[in-house]
Symmetry: C2
Subunit: 554 residues, 2 copies
């Protein structure tokens, strides 16, 4: 009987094993893992800590016993693979409970060794109560510590997805939490003006956000428990620290066996999930991806991709050529909830698109997530990134209290097929008041982008506008009604309601630089047309208006 061997038993490994079983009812399927827990929902760990998910059992999809009973798959926990012998088609593993060395023959081998948190060598990082959060075992320890009631202050190092989810969950449990991020904004994989909207949400919920600084040291008490995280400007109280600066693919085992790594240092695979060594596949977080937009190697260690690659490898093990499955690439689509704010992204950021040499044009467009007259609608802000020449959509980011996952998935689907912005504007999307606006945010955003590229309007981004605040030659005009202006506006803006523009600007020199401000950019667009008609040469609108402006208002 033939042997299918899988190393790793979280998302990709268990998916590969169970699909391999369904494809091959007459073979042995064996899974080795050094861990105790298998087949768990890693993305749920922050919510387990936060007690949104009460029991660890809810995270555990299937036990080894269930794999045996339901699928006739042997899952050996506490078994660490230590060597692959491709010539002999064997894997050497150590039983961590007995220290026994065992050999496992394979006809086909699937590597699903995953990724591990990277822990920088900061002074004091070995102190007690400094954790990474990647496995169920770690989550259990963290939750136990929180449950003692002794954690009053926590520091999260790293402002990525997991870091922010952890910060929210700790805050919800009553722990005063600080996030330290090396870059100048949280969500480093987002463009700054979008990330700042999320950062504001964190701060509004009492999270202390320290950006542009690294933790230089941890200081502990006499028991060896962490007490402070020290940055160049601060000494932050910390009864607990979660290190969340990123993960690295687990590739030692593969490298030792001569399996090639890619540019990203993850295991290089072709579209069929095959490594350079025959009959060895790599799937999930240990495997490299291809960026669907650039065609270049990329690495997006995500549960959604893990499930796909696990399935593909399993199908391909014994498939005829025509039946082989493949993954052409990924977009790195993601979504995160941070308190009442949601943020989602697909494709390239503006800075990535510029770096790739695209002729980048972007717009920032606030919109309602459903009909404005149906109770419960909420705002979202969409940033669309596309190429000026080809109109090809390169990426999008959507942030707000409303539904962001739907429009990002629509755009991700469109990008997959090489959509142009013109195509986005014509999508036939489902509309009924409880679900959407008649003109969905995606369509409105696409139309604004097309207007901008056709030179029907000139817009400037919140970041540019913010930089011009100190420039006395620039006139910021808030064109909203006086009542709105009085509540909140951009510092230094004067108030000239739209209807009075013609009269009040008639003596203003036509070469004066003017930035027009409204709530979302739409009324400013009308005002812009009026000014153009009057002969103003350097008018522009603040893209996204007050709603998308992430800096201080007064």
């Amino acid at each position: 009987m033939k042997n299918i061997l899988v190393i790793g038993a979280v998302a990709a490994g268990t998916k590969a094993a169970s699909k391999a079983r369904r494809e091959n009812m007459d073979m042995n399927v064996t899974v080795l893992t050094r861990d105790e827990y298998i087949s768990y929902a890693g993305c749920g760990l922050p919510y387990y800590i936060g007690d949104v998910i009460k029991s660890k059992d809810e995270l555990l999809v299937k036990t080894p016993e269930a794999f045996k009973k339901e699928f006739d798959i042997d899952v050996l926990t506490h078994h660490e693979a230590i060597d692959i012998l491709p010539e002999a088609k064997k894997v050497v593993a150590k039983d961590l409970k007995t220290d026994k060395i065992k050999e496992f023959k394979y006809d086909k081998l699937i590597l699903a060794t995953g990724a591990s948190p990277f822990v920088p060598p900061i002074k004091g990082v070995e102190l007690n109560n400094i954790f990474t959060l990647r496995t169920v075992s770690e989550a259990i320890k963290i939750k136990q510590l929180i449950n003692t009631g002794k954690v009053k202050n926590a520091v999260v190092v790293g402002g990525g997805f997991i870091g922010l989810e952890v910060a929210e969950n700790l805050t919800e449990r009553g722990i005063k939490t600080a996030v330290v991020e090396l870059l100048d904004h949280v969500l480093p994989m987002y463009d700054k003006e979008m990330a700042l909207l999320v950062q504001n949400e964190l701060m509004e919920h009492g999270v202390d956000v320290i950006t542009g600084e690294a933790v230089e040291a941890f200081e502990g008490d006499s028991d060896g428990n962490v007490k402070y995280a020290v940055t160049p400007s601060k000494k932050i109280p910390a009864d607990m620290v979660i290190m969340s600066v990123g993960v690295r693919p687990n590739t030692e085992l593969a490298q030792k066996a001569g399996i090639e790594l890619g540019d990203t240092r993850a295991i290089k695979v072709n579209h069929n999930m095959e490594t350079n060594i025959e009959d060895i596949y790599a799937v999930g977080d240990c495997a490299e991806n291809i960026n669907l937009i650039t065609g270049k190697p990329a690495w997006f260690p995500m549960g959604s991709t893990s499930n796909k690659t696990g399935r593909i490898a399993a199908i391909n093990l014994f498939a005829e050529n025509a039946e082989r499955d493949e993954l052409r690439g990924v977009l790195g689509t993601n979504v995160v909830k941070v308190f009442n704010m949601n943020a989602a992204k697909t494709g390239l950021t503006e800075r990535e698109a510029v770096k790739e040499g695209f002729d980048v044009e972007t717009v920032i467009v606030p919109a309602d997530d459903r009909a404005h007259y149906y109770p419960g609608y909420k705002k979202i802000v969409t940033k669309l990134i596309a190429d000026r020449k080809s109109h090809k959509v390169l990426g999008a980011q959507i942030v707000g209290e409303g539904v962001v996952d739907k429009p990002i998935d629509i755009i991700a689907a469109a990008i997959t097929f090489g959509a142009r912005v013109d195509d986005l504007a014509k999508l036939d999307l489902a509309y009924a008041p409880p679900f959407s606006s008649a003109m969905s945010s995606t369509i409105t955003t696409a139309n604004v982008w097309l207007n901008k590229v056709a030179d029907k309007v000139k817009g400037i981004s919140p970041i540019e506008a913010h930089e011009k605040l100190s420039d006395k030659n620039v006139m910021f005009i808030d064109i909203r009604a006086e009542e709105e202006y009085m509540v909140k506006t951009i510092p230094g803006a004067v108030n000239i309601p739209k209807g009075r523009l013609k009269k009040e600007l008639k003596d203003t020199p036509k070469d004066r630089e003017i930035i027009l401000i409204c709530n979302v950019g739409k009324n400013a667009y009308l005002a812009y047309l009026t000014l153009k008609h009057m002969g103003f040469e350097k008018a522009a609108i603040l893209e996204g208006g007050i709603n998308a402006y992430p800096y201080e208002l007064q």
Copy 2:
């Protein structure tokens, strides 16, 4: 100065007018409408009746005064266009308040005359308190009648979107409501097994659903108020009736002027929204569409499309060739909420796809709308319709308590670009526990379809299964645990839990027809593989399992 004239002032007309203004700051823009109310959210009317939307003002997007002040657009209400004179480039209109006849010159004319409810000539249809629901004026009258408290029983004639939304809203207001639908299920534009899931929801909320029958007459009291709706089998009490059997495009004006209609009897337009007469455009519900999948004329009178076509015509009025905008076609994507159930559809139904000559294969797949371990996830059922040879996605319907608008929009976006099912399975969609599953419903459904087409599993639909219930040669096996079987199963099914199949079926003839039943189809698939391995030739799984089975359980 040039004149742009628009006839009609709901969604498409006002969109066309305001976009025409932005494109042409130096022209006159005039809108004629015979109605009192303009620029209203027609799709919100059922919710206004139901008091979900409290005030009619919430439905009114902009008043004529606002159009004048903000856009310098003249909106003339109570002005009915009665003649178009293409040679003279004039429209003759009647001021309904003064009965004066007026002429309006145009350089460009946009027809946005909309659609009107079709009222079949049923005996007694002229009785009091029988309404159609298309305009704000009608909604006001209906709401006033309900607010008197005298409406105890209501009948809705027609089980389409509006009919069901009205039935829900009347029920929520404490009115005992019956829906009469001529076809054998509500939601006539859906496939039956999907529509039945919605129909069950209506009945669970106390709505009396009468299908396969027409209302033959209405009977009234001595005051001429409706009292009963009479069908061949029933006499249904009715203090109020809403006629909702469908709408027809308003084309009399166009026809009189020699403007060509299409196969669907709506106004024929090209991709640029031009009619056969120069300088006359048609947009919104009065204009014909093209079905993006078949390339054939179609008519989907929807607010989402109205906004697009209004905008396109406005851009094209004076655009250079290169700047002209176009709509290549629509998919008829839609969504409706019915109590706690949501239903969405895009593209072709199974029966439409068969009629078009495709080699149709379908699957029905229940799934969770987000991570099964995150609180608040809900079930949805997806039906995917695709072509067996080309694998091209032809349509989808999604029904359930969970989020249906997101996956239908993803699939609609994919279909727009000619997606194959294989492409759907590889979409890189956003995943985090509060938003989605790692394997989203779209991907799971695509994988099931591919399995079925690759002959890895044989499935039968709920409708086929239901038809076989009386066939004694067919063995229905519920493979779930006994506890589940005891709660609810398909009438006549025997219980053989999956683990006991090998033992209990060892003496069963291998040519016995067997239908395997589980909750969603996934465990039945495993059982199917076991049976195939045992040599059974005529095994199949019930697609969608108990979760998607719309008939009686016991």
